[in-house]
C-alpha cells in the first residue's frame, strides 16, 4: 500500500463567489494614466479662478466682463435671486469654489494613492471623486434649468464653470471605470 501521507492532495482553494472580483493582475503600468488626475487638478484651478472672479465681482459690485447680447446677459443672471445660496446673501460661487477645491484634493489623493503614499486605495478615492462629480453635475443641471426656464438668459462665465464641472465628471468617470475594470480583469 502506498504511503498516502507522502502524497499530498492538491490544495483546494475555496471557489470564488460570483460577486467577488478577481485580484488585479500585475499591471505593466498605471491603470489610470498619470495625466488624468493632473488634468483634473488643472481644471480645478481654472474653476477656482473663475468662481473667485465672479465672487469678487458680486461683492465689489463691479461690472462683469461679459457682453449683453440677446440671450447672453451675465449681469441679469448673476444678480438674479438664484445667484445666492437660499435666502442668504452668499453668492453660489462660494460653494462652487469649495467644490473645485475638494475635486482638486481628490485628484491629488488619487495620485498619492497610485504611488502608494496614501493608505487608501485609489479605487476608493476614485469612487468618492465620482460621487462628488455627480453631485456637482446635478447642481449644474439645476442652474442650467434656472437660466433656461426662469431667467431666459445665460451667463458666459457661468457656462464656462459648468463645462469645467462636466469635464471633471467625465474624467472622474473614466478614472473609476479603469480602476474597476482592472479589478474585474
Amino acid at each position: 500500500m502506498a504511503n498516502r501521507s507522502a502524497v499530498r492532495a492538491p490544495e483546494r482553494k475555496p471557489a470564488r463567489a460570483a460577486s467577488e472580483p478577481a485580484e488585479p493582475p500585475a499591471a505593466a503600468g498605471p491603470v489610470v494614466p498619470v495625466w488624468l488626475p493632473w488634468l483634473i487638478m488643472v481644471i480645478s484651478v481654472v474653476g477656482i479662478g473663475i468662481s473667485a472672479y465672479l465672487t469678487v465681482v458680486h461683492y465689489a459690485k463691479l461690472p462683469l466682463a461679459c457682453p449683453t447680447n440677446g440671450i447672453v446677459n451675465c449681469a441679469l443672471v448673476t444678480s438674479s435671486p438664484y445667484s445666492v445660496v437660499g435666502t442668504t446673501s452668499i453668492p453660489i460661487t462660494v460653494p462652487g469654489i469649495g467644490w473645485f477645491v475638494v475635486s482638486g484634493a481628490l485628484a491629488a489623493a488619487s495620485l498619492l494613492a497610485a504611488s502608494g503614499r496614501l493608505r487608501y486605495s485609489q479605487l476608493r478615492i476614485a469612487g468618492a471623486h465620482l460621487i462628488w462629480a455627480v453631485l456637482g453635475l446635478l447642481f449644474v443641471l439645476y442652474l442650467l434649468s434656472v437660466e433656461a426656464l426662469r431667467l431666459h438668459h445665460y451667463c458666459e462665465w457661468c457656462s464656462g464653470v459648468h463645462v469645467l464641472v462636466l469635464i471633471t465628471f467625465i474624467l472622474a468617470l473614466v478614472q473609476w471605470q479603469r480602476l474597476m475594470a482592472a479589478r474585474w480583469a
Binding site: 482553494k13 449683453t68 449681469a75 443641471l141 426662469r150 431666459h152 438668459h153
Partner: protein
C-alpha cells in the same frame, strides 16, 4: 475536478453579469465599465441639457389674451390725453433727469430730415415695460401712434409681468420727429427685430459706459445724436406694481394704471407723466421747440432749462 468546478462557476458568473465568457474562463468587463458606459453617461447628460435648453417654461410666459392685442381705446386715451394742468402739476414727478449729453463730437441722428429718437428694447424686459408708458405719453404730444399692442414683461424677473405695450407692429408719424423702435426679443427671449446697421453702430458705441450702466442693455434711448436716455426704470416700474418698493409684488392691470393716471398725485401719474415730461423736454430741445403748444407749456420750459445738451 475542483478546478473544473471553479472554472464552471466563473463562466456562469460571467454569463450572469451579462458578459461573454472569455476563452480563458475569466468574466468579461461589464459594459458600463468600458467605452459604452462612458458613452451612455455622456448621451444621457446631452439629452437632459438639450431638453432643458429647448423647453419652454410653460404657461407663465405663454401668449395669452394680451399678446400684442390692440390697446383698448380707454387705456390709450388715459396715456395720451392727460390734461395740461395735470401735466403741469406732476412736473418732473420726482423722476430725475434721464438725459446724458453725448460727449465730444455730436453727429446728428436724423431720419427724413427730422431729428430721430431711437428706442432699443425687448418685450420681456421689465424696465422697458415701464418706459413705454412715458414714451407713448410723450411722443403722442408730437405725433400719432398706430398699431400699438398690449404686452407684459416676463414673469420670471424683477417686476414680473409688468403690464405695458409693445412697439413690435407700431408705426409713428409726426411732422417734428422720427421715432424708430426695435423690440429685439419677445417675451420669451426669442429674437424678434434687428436694428439696422446704422442703428447698431450707435447702440454699440453709446449703449455702454459712461452712458449706460450695462453694455448693450435695455432700454436704450438715443436722441438726435445729442443725448442718451437712461431712464430711472426701477422707480417707474415700482409705480406699476402693487407695492412700489417690492420688486416682486404683483403687477397692476392696464386699467388700474390708467385709472391712476387721471390723478396727478398718484404714483402712476407721477412716474409715467414725470418721465413723459422729461422725454418731452428732450424732444423740444432738439426739434426747435415745436410745437409751441407743447414746448411752451408748463413744466416743459423749466425741465428743458435743466438739460445739459
Amino acid at each position: 475536478m475542483a478546478t473544473r468546478q471553479a472554472r464552471r462557476q466563473q463562466q456562469r458568473a460571467g454569463q450572469r453579469r451579462g458578459g461573454r465568457p472569455s476563452q480563458r474562463g475569466r468574466p468579461a468587463t461589464p459594459w458600463y465599465l468600458g467605452p459604452w458606459g462612458l458613452g451612455a453617461a455622456v448621451l444621457v447628460i446631452a439629452v437632459v441639457v438639450v431638453a432643458i435648453v429647448v423647453s419652454n417654461n410653460g404657461s407663465s410666459n405663454a401668449g395669452g389674451s394680451f399678446d400684442n392685442k390692440p390697446v383698448p381705446k380707454s387705456i390709450l386715451t388715459a396715456v395720451t390725453s392727460p390734461g395740461q394742468s395735470e401735466l403741469a402739476t406732476v412736473g418732473s414727478g420726482g423722476v430725475p433727469n434721464p438725459w446724458t449729453k453725448i460727449k465730444g463730437r455730436q453727429t446728428p441722428f436724423t431720419l427724413g430730415g427730422k431729428p430721430e429718437l431711437l428706442y432699443y428694447g425687448a418685450e420681456f424686459c421689465p424696465y422697458c415695460a415701464a418706459e413705454r408708458w412715458g414714451m407713448i405719453a410723450a411722443l403722442s404730444r408730437f405725433g400719432t401712434f398706430k398699431g400699438l399692442g398690449l404686452m407684459k414683461s416676463t414673469a420670471n424677473d424683477v417686476f414680473p409681468s409688468t403690464n405695458t405695450f409693445t412697439f413690435r407692429h407700431a408705426s409713428y408719424t409726426s411732422p417734428y420727429l422720427a421715432f424708430s423702435a426695435r423690440e429685439v426679443e419677445d417675451r420669451n427671449g426669442r429674437a424678434l427685430q434687428t436694428p439696422t446697421a446704422r442703428e447698431q453702430t450707435v447702440i454699440n458705441r453709446y449703449d455702454k459706459k459712461p452712458y449706460s450702466t450695462q453694455a448693450l442693455g435695455f432700454p436704450f434711448l438715443y436722441l438726435d445724436g445729442k443725448a442718451v436716455g437712461n431712464l430711472p426704470s426701477i422707480a417707474i416700474d415700482g409705480a406699476l406694481h402693487a407695492n412700489t418698493t417690492d420688486p416682486y409684488s404683483s403687477a397692476l392691470s392696464w386699467s388700474q394704471i390708467a385709472g391712476g393716471l387721471v390723478n396727478a398725485g398718484s404714483p402712476q401719474a407721477r412716474a409715467v407723466f414725470g418721465n413723459a415730461n422729461w422725454i418731452t423736454a428732450g424732444i423740444c430741445r432738439v426739434d426747435g421747440n415745436k410745437p409751441a403748444s407743447v414746448c411752451s407749456a408748463k413744466p416743459i420750459p423749466a425741465l428743458e432749462a435743466k438739460l445739459k445738451f
